[in-house]
Symmetry: C2
Subunit: 648 residues, 2 copies
């Protein structure tokens, strides 16, 4: 068989593959990331690459412009390798994890409210699920030669009133030598039970006194990104944080394509290995950055949506995507992190956040727990906007939740120049109402490369308020500007001309893009409305909104209300918690109270499958306008629009 050599740019990575290999598979094998939101099925058109040297067979679909084709662009998932190649991955097709770790400046309208560690302490709740206890044991002698384990257990009882202790074989194996390493002075690490009266598991023994060094990892397993924090369980502080893109992105951008991949033979094992690899990279980084001895890490708490959780645990997710959408489990027992393939000591307990349903997962539960929503009297709307959007309404006494399939618009999916909030993404926008010339701000302040979710919202809100698009999201065809033009029968607004950009094309916002955004925000808004209706309440009953999700931290609140993504509410009642999943994982690392309460809370969280109800469809259709069919729901906006109209 013939083999061909491929060099990928700008990575400058080489690989040799057999004749007629599909180009995107070659890239995957070479560890070169190319976006492929359809899992390589050739329909999303995201995997556009430039063939700089050599020739491929096929690779051309209607997803490519004539200009693209002439310039040598091909779709990697449709190209067959028939000779040596040099292939450039365009910047907009790659992701750059460095941007995940920069310091974010919060929005002018944002009120970031992370849970307060001091309050936790004052409430007496700073009791981590893993605690260390130092003991000085009497040395064995002829008249007292009880087994080593009994000596430890009986002294924990006598000296510290610790009872109902259990331990597993790997710990038993350590005990005889560790006890004698420092003359029977040892530190035992106890994992606290979830239930009152449950067992205290001795998960580790160390020689000497190590009680001043006890750490836990909090981790958010997102569909797109994985974030980890190193928590000091003595001081309660976060010592380091790191985020990286979930390596599974190469196997599909959303949970459905991941599940489809996992259903292929060997797919689950592969996609599991990939996420564990990312997790291990994050673990390595936060250990490095915190400069601690990993031997003193006692636990890792993980929160993720149902699919991410099952893929991480290598639990077949195929029934999640099939009606009636059944997840494998709600609660998972503590698992040895090492058994999951994590590069952590064999004693480290992996504590997994429970799920409510197939589409309301551990990430949302973590947010509800970590934000304290489950303990408040206030009627709260909790909204997490990520690859999917999840809504929870309720307070300490009851909760209703639902997931809305918003589509990937907020993360750049389905938007012609959509991209994640990485370097070069347009994140803020204003317009001259007379010349219609734009003013752009990009992430990293470089030449624009595309539009991220929060930029898109701002852009559409501004275009709508200035009357450049109407409530149906259509451009005013009568304006005197060449910024608005028709291309291939689609109207578009030219945001930046080719020479102004960091890519090699004009960056535009099309009516199709706007339509996709309207569908996405319509889905979320109607999700909230339907859920409220299901529980017999209205918008005005809501006493606070908690916004979560990376997206939630960037978004301009007023603009989000302008397009009708969020109900119009006093901005003071809105708080952003940032990554709710990570925050919940962190809070759980600090207080075992959350683990004790969470099973009851998930039982209390009634799940509604909205997408299939008539009520949701009615709300959805009504929400497919800017801001909504019923402008009366947005009184302040109406007032502004009326003033403007009067002014013209």
């Amino acid at each position: 068989m013939d083999y061909h050599k491929i060099r990928f740019l700008p990575h400058n990575r080489e690989i040799t593959v057999p004749d007629r290999e599909i180009l995107i598979r070659a890239a995957m094998e070479a560890g070169v990331h190319v976006n492929a939101s359809c899992g390589g099925e050739g329909v999303c058109g995201k995997c556009r690459v430039l063939i700089e040297e050599g020739t491929v067979e096929d690779g051309i679909t209607e997803q490519l412009d004539k200009e693209d084709i002439d310039n040598g662009y091909r779709l990697a998932c449709k190209s067959l390798v028939i000779g040596d190649l040099v292939v450039r991955i365009p910047t907009e097709s790659t992701v750059d994890s460095s941007v995940l770790n920069r310091q974010l400046t919060s929005r002018r309208t944002a009120r970031i409210k992370q849970p307060d560690f001091n309050t936790l302490k004052e409430e007496g709740l700073f009791v981590p699920p893993v605690e260390k206890i130092y003991l000085e044991l009497p040395e064995p002698e002829e008249q007292d030669n009880q087994p080593d384990v009994s000596r430890l257990v009986s002294n924990l009882a006598q000296q510290y009133d610790e009872h109902r202790l259990e331990l597993n074989l790997p710990v038993i194996r350590k005990i005889p030598d560790i006890l004698r390493e420092d003359n029977f002075r040892v530190t035992a690490t106890l994992e606290r039970p979830v239930r009152e009266g449950g067992k205290n598991r001795i998960i580790n023994v160390q020689s000497g006194d190590t009680t001043d060094r006890n750490y836990a990892i909090a981790m958010d397993i997102g569909t797109t990104t994985i974030y980890g924090q190193m928590i000091d369980l003595v001081s309660g502080e976060s010592l380091s944080q790191y985020g990286d893109f979930n390596g599974q992105i190469s196997y599909g951008e959303d949970v459905i394509t991941r599940i489809m991949y996992a259903e292929k033979p060997g797919g689950l094992e592969k996609i599991n290995a990939v996420v564990i690899e990312t997790i291990n990279r994050v673990i390595e980084k936060i250990i490095q950055k915190a400069a601690i001895d990993p031997e003193n890490i006692s636990a890792i708490t993980l929160a993720g949506n149902t699919t991410m959780t099952q893929l991480m645990l290598k639990v077949n997710p195929r029934y999640i995507r099939r009606s009636p959408y059944v997840p494998a489990a709600t609660l998972y027992p503590p698992i040895n992190a090492a058994d999951l393939g994590m590069n952590l000591g064999t004693h480290v307990a992996a504590l997994v956040y429970p799920q409510v349903s197939s589409y309301v997962g551990g990430d949302i539960v973590a947010g509800v727990m970590g934000s304290g929503m489950y303990r408040t009297e206030k009627l709260t709307l909790y909204l997490d906007i990520g690859t999917n959007a999840e809504v929870v309404i309720g307070n300490k006494d009851w909760m209703a939740c639902a997931a809305c399939s918003a589509g990937p618009a907020f993360e750049g999916g389905g938007i012609k120049f959509g991209m994640r909030a990485t370097k070069g993404a347009v994140e803020d926008f204003s317009i001259d109402p007379n010349t219609f010339e734009p003013m752009l701000m990009t992430v990293g302040n470089v030449k624009p490369k595309g539009i991220c979710g929060s930029g898109l919202i701002t852009m559409v809100a501004v275009l709508f308020e200035t009357g450049i698009i109407n409530s149906q999201g259509k451009f005013n065809r009568d304006l005197d500007t060449n910024r608005i033009r028709e291309d291939n029968n689609v109207y578009e607004y030219v945001l930046a001309l080719k020479e102004e950009t960091g890519v090699d094309r004009d960056i535009v916002l099309t009516e199709i893009d706007i339509d996709n955004l309207i569908r996405a925000k319509g889905s979320i808004y109607s999700g909230c409305m339907t859920l409220l209706e299901e529980v017999g309440l209205g918008i005005t009953d809501i006493e606070q909104i908690i916004l979560a999700g990376g997206f939630g931290s960037y978004v301009d609140l007023e603009k989000a209300m302008t397009i009708g993504l969020l109900p119009e509410i006093d901005p003071d009642k809105v708080t952003f918690v940032g990554n709710g999943s990570l925050m919940g994982a962190k809070m759980s690392s600090l207080t075992n109270r959350i683990r004790q309460d969470v099973a009851e809370v998930t039982k209390m969280m009634t799940n509604f499958e909205l997408s299939e109800t008539q009520s949701f469809m009615d709300h959805y259709v009504a929400a497919l306008f800017l801001p909504h069919t019923d402008i009366g729901l947005f009184p302040k906006l109406k007032e502004r629009l009326d003033v403007q109209k009067a002014g013209r």
Copy 2:
């Protein structure tokens, strides 16, 4: 480096080794078993091999006769390979596991009393620690899409009143697919808790109804042999049994040399792997012989002494052999058998019998539990004679126990022609009181090769009662026979001449051998006496004796009393339980009651470290006679001897 080829006979197995390799290591690597009771330290002289072709360097110690040396015998552990060799392993240096699996004919004096399954049933105690339950679950639908695990758990509660259920990740991984394999008809396997109010672990799920197929393995991990039984948990029957020599024999014959080996770098891992290998061989055989589907094996119960248990679990045993003799643990939690390296399904629970102390281990606890001693009112003496001897005295209200280091005499160790009870071992013996000519019976009825433990006892008892040896174990120098002769200043009795034997030498019983036996039996007897004294009782208080151990089943009870190994007691009060450890493991497989009771029983078993007390030494010295310094302790024997004396 030079390499040399070695061929081992009679195995005809070849291996190539580097120059100056030690011969016994080469044999080990070639998988050729050579006895080495000292672990290869060159002091036991057991590894005598015949160099048929080629030459070795060294290999000669005082353990070899001049005749041996002239005939080409060398000690394998002291021989360096310096050229190609053909080496024959003499029959007496090998073991033959087939003998372990022959049908034993019990002794005329034996009353084998295995615990009765029907009684167990009548008492309502036939409740195995692992039970199967068949369920028909409602299929998920839109209005009932709870997670798969919740569906299983809630239906176990509703349909069978099963609560406090828990399950681990490997089982969760199975559930989604298994539920759908036969339309939500499933069989769940539950492992019952040790404590009332404890958790019921769901350890397996299978599609369809498999409740009529549920099996458990009972296994005795002996220092010398490993026996397994396949138990049908539906009928309570034993379906198959198989025994094999513990592969660790090659690393030392007793627990001390095994521990010493385990202390070398990598030694624990190696010696653990070896016993797991033997266990897996036994498992394979009993599965084969029972002709069952291994998928339906739910548990394996293992009983072994403290060292064997720790080696099997890969728990460092070094502190067992050092004062104050501390074992790692008393109780071990249920462990996944697969995690221990056993070739069993990942769901199979390994249940390990608890230990009392370093020298009263799970094998004895199993005997005490399985024989029902722990539930009887009768004051009982339980005696297990194996590589070591363990004594338990007590009843359902209290128990005292101790181990005696009897030495390996009962298994052929320290006896010039000592051997295990394998083919060719002299097991019965009588003598013509006039001609002093012997009459021998051997295991397998072949030419004699040596003397096994029960044969030795009978021989010494007969020689003593006929006045050929005196109460100090010395031969009567005045008898007119060439059967008794002096060789190298040691008196010996010629049991068989070279040409009558299956080996190539005269088989003799020496005064040194007799002395070793007297020391061994003295140790056991004084162990019993000291323990009785410690609890303020005497021999006459004992209401029954339970004898355990392979040895216990062969021994001639009357002869054992004659030499003073056992106290003189009405033979009707003595029962043999055979392999007490295996029996206990089996009983535990049939009734969870034993697991529930055993922790309390081990707490109740007071351990006495006899060997270091003055009282034991006094008793021991007094017992170094046949049958004892105080013949008054053996009134019936005294009567017989008096009658004989009068008759002469």
